[in-house]
Symmetry: C2
Subunit: 140 residues, 2 copies
DNA sequence: TTAAACTGTATGCATTAACATAACAGTATT
DNA sequence: AATACTGTTATGTTAATGCATACAGTTTAA
């Protein structure tokens, strides 16, 4: 899995943390430790999905457009990284005669899909606010 | 996640499928659709973990050394790919002042670990034999 | 109306990870 | 001693990932 999901969660938590619930791509990028372009791309996507609003022009930036107590990591995962747990290489080959070789691909597909459902189910337990609280009370 | 887990499962299922429960790296590689070197590396590892035995020399190869009805995909996952679901890029930076930036990394680590536990729990439901049966009765 | 500070988006670059290929030593069989 | 295997390392190639740059479009404000 690439880290767009991580960046999305971090950005939303950061926005929830700020009093104004608003920040520019550069401010977010500094906090996340990445570059503004990457933030803009990811935030654009989060806007399409309704998680944030954007304001262009001077004094613009991104602002929270959802209730951080209601939005779960599963929703963010679904939007950003669905299907990303499965390796992109497939074993076997549907063209071969052997039952194992020819069917393994679809069987493994099914297994990975099921396991990902469980993965998401775990992420359903945690909201953006939960993460924010954990961050605040993290002893480190 | 890379596909070593997939290859390992496929190889074990293939061995369980064969009457002699034995095959060379080249035979397995053909079935899996990859190269013998990769199979040997993965099978070497599976031998260390006790899943297979190897026989060197002429007429040698790999043979099942476990009960395919008892070995679950979770055990194989644990051996081959534990921790592989987490992205290897980390957001934030422990050196920053901001609570969010500095603690996000360890909070996300914890979340990914928990989610992976659920993922593995799903894989516990399926044995090598289960996969073999699914492969045999796959309508495709 | 013009400058400044933003977002949106495209493109190319650099690095790393993933998979393939080749080579060769070690080992068992015949 | 030839053959057919595994074990392991080194090297090549391709794809994924994240970074940097550039520039058009938008809003604000002097």
């Amino acid at each position: 899995m690439n880290s767009e999901f991580t960046v999305a969660v971090h950005s939303l938590v950061f926005l929830a943390y700020l009093p104004e619930h608003m920040a520019s791509s550069e401010t977010i990028a500094r906090n996340v430790s990445t570059n503004p372009t990457r933030i803009r791309k990811i935030m654009s996507f989060l806007r399409e999905q309704g998680f944030v609003k954007t304001k262009e022009g001077v004094g613009g930036g991104y602002m929270l457009n959802c209730d951080p107590q209601k939005v779960t990591l599963a929703q963010i995962y679904r939007a950003m990284a669905c299907g990303a747990l499965k390796p992109n290489w497939n074993s076997g080959d549907p063209g071969q005669d052997c039952l194992v070789a020819s069917n393994m691909q679809s069987v493994m597909d099914h297994i990975f899909r099921e396991a990902e459902v469980q993965y998401r189910r775990c992420l359903e337990q945690t909201t953006i606010c939960d993460v924010l609280e954990q961050v605040k009370h993290c002893q480190s």
